[in-house]
């Protein structure tokens, strides 16, 4: 009985920590849902390499699906005439899983890395750290993602790719909402 009384505060602490973590994940998920729409912006290397002439426009589409249980993030041209089965069109799914916000990136390199999101103290940045990867990693895989919400109509995405030979390459897209 004495030991139970001793353990109770720790159990309560553990439960409240779990609840807090879950609410952070939910907060992150809600923040990501608010990004639903169509976005356009400049893609550059980070740090920038102006010699590559990489200030190039790209589009991102995000939509909430599965009765609010998942977000689909699509990168690339949104031209319906362009067949995504043949062209460059990476898809990322975001969802809650056991109190964590997870992301699965479906890469054209033929693999599917999973990452877990962590909300920053100011609630504006969600960092996705690598958990594991399924599929062929011969040509590298996505290693990290960061979403920074600037305001309702502006957000920044940073995607870090682990190249063969374990060299990291980070791309940054500054996006403006167009829809």
């Amino acid at each position: 009985m004495k030991s139970l009384r001793f353990a109770l505060p720790f159990v309560l602490l553990a439960l409240s920590t779990a609840a807090l973590a879950q609410s952070d994940a939910q907060k992150s998920f809600d923040a990501m849902k608010a990004l639903a729409g169509t976005w356009q912006g400049h893609a550059t290397l980070d740090p920038p390499n102006p010699q590559m002439g990489g200030d190039s426009d790209t589009r991102v589409s995000m939509r909430v699906t599965s009765r609010g249980n998942a977000i689909v993030h699509e990168m690339g041209e949104l031209d319906p005439a362009q067949d995504p089965t043949k062209h460059d069109h990476p898809v990322t799914m975001l969802y809650l899983d056991e109190g964590r916000l997870l992301l699965t990136h479906y890469c054209d390199a033929g693999n599917r890395p999973r990452m877990a999101g962590k909300l920053s103290a100011d609630g504006k940045t969600i960092d996705f750290d690598f958990l594991d990867v399924a599929g062929n990693t011969q040509y590298g895989h996505m290693q990290h993602a960061r979403f920074t919400i600037v305001d309702d109509n502006h957000h920044v995405e940073e995607w870090t790719f682990l190249m063969p030979g374990d060299k990291l390459m980070r791309g940054r897209i500054d996006l403006q909402r167009i829809k």
Partner: protein, 132 residues
Amino acid sequence: MDRDWNDSQPIYRQIRDRVVAMILDGVLKEGDALPSVRNVAVEYRVNPLTVLKAYQGLVDEQFVESRRGLGMFVKAGAKNLLLRGEREKFLEQEWPRISETIERLGLKPEELLNGSSRRSPAKSSKTTKEER
């Protein structure tokens, strides 16, 4: 560059391979500028991050270099470096299989040389047309 992509490799790798082939074939010479990421992304309708990945790979492999304020250029010595790499790859990966076939068929060096001299460019293109 061809606009069609195959399913065996990611697109960034295929862009890298096409630039490599252009260097080996002399289409891109040492000191020539590479098209900008923007141009490749727009023309081939690929994500600019994909082109950046391909170009970064070429920089890492020492085939191209960036010149401040000017762009990306094929590095001096890139063709030799590529040839060395491609020769090694051929000898390590393809030659053992070819050599095994030659041995199995009992082909002699003179037969191989005659065989290759029979493949004149005119005949090759005719064969290709017929095959189509």
